[in-house]
């Protein structure tokens, strides 16, 4: 298990096969063990067609799993879904509301149907910045407004777990930022947010933990910081007056050192502070020490290389790498 502690979502050996029109079978999710710890934002990443939406639909009981078990807040789903659904707010792909009703009316209708307090409607409309367009018909909404309304709808239940499947699809940068803020705000209030995306940059900034899947299989999961550490070796840029001497000293520690002009690029140092320490002991003073930014994107691309749609199916976990993201 990748995460210790309480889990909001936990799946084991989850498998889903779709039957194609020509009768052949297509494995969308294969043996997926997904763990989402309680609290914080959990990114659920994977290229297009990797099975993110399929997994979420199984969790919500919209489609049946062929194999495997799923638990949400420790309740087996879909068997006990009705009991936990009150704690879960979800949007899957592009949610569809009633086109002839205004945004507000749609929410009031939903609130009535799920037994939520109708006074919450105005609150959640404000939360997603839709208050001044709430009286317009849903069918006149832009993509971004529809997405916001969907998020507002999930907030009606004041759920403990929010599942957002590609919530920022079709949003402009300002909209993306707003949604991100909403997600952070929710996490800040102690909620668990599972957000799926194929756009890394979007999730990297909000997610505490991530799961990366490709072709229906888990290829890496853990804390973002750990994944960044394991994805590409951590590189630190070091600026010193005498790079030659400093380079030899650092190489003597078993680290890889490259010259970059007057500076050094050091790979493999467990902690940048150690570099300063070693050099200072020899009277060499560091005038620059910056970690070279490794973004999730490059980790993601590396991990999922050759696993996008239309490529050859990979062997079992080709990279053999699973970040052991301990919560300690």
């Amino acid at each position: 298990m990748a995460f210790t502690g309480e889990l909001a979502i936990s799946t084991r050996g989850l498998r889903k096969t779709y039957r194609r029109l020509n009768g052949s079978k297509h494995v969308a999710v294969e043996g997926l063990d997904l763990d989402v710890p309680v609290g914080g934002v959990h990114g659920f990443l994977g290229p297009n067609g990797s099975g993110k939406t399929t997994t979420i639909r199984m969790l919500l009981g919209l489609i049946r799993a062929d194999q495997g078990t799923m638990r949400v807040f420790d309740q087996p789903v879909p068997a006990r879904l009705p009991d936990v659904v009150g704690r879960v707010g979800a949007i899957v792909e592009q949610p569809k509301f009633f086109p002839n009703f205004s945004g507000r009316r749609n929410l009031l209708l939903l609130a009535g149907a799920i037994g939520a307090d109708s006074r919450l409607v105005e609150v959640v409309l404000g939360d997603v910045g839709l208050a001044d367009r709430a009286k317009d018909r849903y069918r006149t909404y832009s993509l971004g407004m529809k997405q916001r309304l969907a998020i507002a709808a999930t907030l009606l239940k004041d759920p403990d777990l929010l599942i957002f499947d590609e919530p920022t699809n079709g949003l402009d940068p300002a909209g993306i930022r707003e949604i991100r803020d909403v997600m952070r705000g929710l996490a800040g209030r102690g909620k668990t947010v599972l957000v799926s995306s194929h756009i890394l940059a979007e999730v990297e900034q909000v997610a505490d933990t991530v799961s990366i899947i490709a072709r229906g299989r888990m290829i890496a999961d853990g804390r973002v910081s750990d994944l960044l550490g394991t994805g590409a070796a951590r590189t630190v840029r070091v600026g010193v007056a005498v790079p030659g001497t400093a380079g030899s000293l650092l190489e003597a520690q078993g680290w890889t050192v490259r010259r970059d002009g007057h500076q050094l690029l050091v790979d493999g140092a467990p902690d940048p502070a150690r570099i300063t320490e070693i050099l200072a002991r020899q009277g060499l003073f560091v005038d620059e020490l910056t970690p070279v930014k490794v973004d999730l994107e490059s980790v993601f691309l590396e991990l999922t290389a050759g696993q996008g749609p239309g490529t050859r199916p990979p062997d079992e976990h080709p990279h053999g790498r699973r970040a052991a993201g301990s919560d300690s």
Partner: protein
């Protein structure tokens, strides 16, 4: 369940298709009102003039030959009375009257039921379409999947749809059947053909209207069940066309006994208070050319039997719909 139903009803009310079909059916029903109006239309001035001309000519003829014809009549009457002492040939009523030359004006009592009966088809088709659309639209737009993420108990979602079609179907049925039933009474009265309908007439007429409304509700339920089972409106339409062609039309031709099992027979039996159909039954008879003698035997389908068959069909279709809905993926 109650909150779901309330939401479902609000959505049903807001569907323009529902309104469109309901109004279309009511307007189409006006055709039967127009027929009743035509049946009971009082003679036009031209018809009256023509009748008077005819009458004048007949009267002139009568003035010439009337006495002879009455005498002739009496003679025949005398002869007939030798065998049948009570015979009365109405020889004193042979003189022409003007009504003879005017088109016959039916009375409400004679035509009301006959003109109202075909409305069954209208109500059934309209409610079927509405029932199907309530469900298939949600599948087509993806609203079903969104709805289920909020209300995952599929049995309840199914039940709320089924109840919504009943609650919405009642006013629609009343609108369509009421338009025609009320319209027929109104136009016959307007045409002065209201007559003096007996209580038996009202019983039959209003009973027919009520059972037509119930047949509409039945069709709405069947529509909901079929749509849950097949999801696409086009698939339901295809099935309906196939059913009408194969089971309702072709099968009884090939197998006359099957007529008793068709939906049309049972619908007619339920709405009109029983019906019957003929099945030729043959016994071997070597003395004839074909080697057998055939005779049509009437089979009666009672109101209750028709109602029970419809009920059974609705239960089977709803059960299938529920089963499929509970088991199949919704994406």
């Amino acid at each position: 369940m109650r909150p779901l139903l309330r939401a479902e009803l609000a959505r049903t009310r807001a569907r323009s298709f529902v309104w469109f079909v309901a109004i279309l059916a009511a307007v189409a029903g006006l055709g039967f009102v127009a027929m009743a109006w035509d049946d009971t239309r009082p003679p036009t001035a031209a018809q009256v003039r023509a009748a008077q001309d005819e009458f004048a000519r007949a009267q002139a003829e009568w003035d010439r030959t009337g006495d002879d014809r009455v005498a002739q009549c009496r003679e025949v009457e005398e002869q007939t009375r030798e065998e049948h002492p009570d015979a009365d040939l109405l020889c004193d009523q042979l003189a022409p009257v003007v009504e003879q030359f005017l088109p016959y004006q039916s009375q409400l009592e004679e035509l009301g039921v006959q003109r109202l009966e075909p409305v069954t088809v209208l109500v059934v088709l309209a409610m079927l379409a509405i029932g199907v659309s309530l469900v298939s639209t949600d599948f087509a737009t993806g609203a079903m999947s969104t709805w289920l993420t909020f209300a995952p108990r599929r049995g309840r979602v199914f039940a709320s749809k089924a109840c919504a079609v009943l609650v919405a179907g009642l006013p629609i049925g009343v609108l369509v059947v009421g338009t025609v039933a009320g319209g027929i009474v109104a136009v016959t009265t307007w045409n002065g053909a209201f007559g003096e309908p007996g209580s038996w007439f009202w019983q039959e007429y209003l009973g027919l209207a009520a059972r037509q409304i119930s047949a509409g509700l039945w069709a709405g339920l069947v529509g909901v069940g079929l749509a849950f089972a097949l999801r696409h409106a086009a698939a339901v339409a295809g099935l309906a066309v196939w059913w009408v062609a194969a089971t309702e039309s072709a099968l009884p031709v090939l197998l006359p006994v099957a007529r008793g099992a068709t939906l049309s027979t049972n619908l007619v039996a339920w709405t009109t208070g029983g019906t019957s159909y003929d099945v030729p039954e043959c016994v071997p008879d070597p003395s004839t050319v074909t080697g057998e003698v055939c005779q049509d035997v009437a089979h009666v389908v009672s109101t209750a039997q028709g109602g029970l068959v419809l009920l059974a069909v609705a239960l089977v279709v709803l059960g299938t719909g529920l089963l499929v809905f509970r088991l199949r993926d919704v994406t």
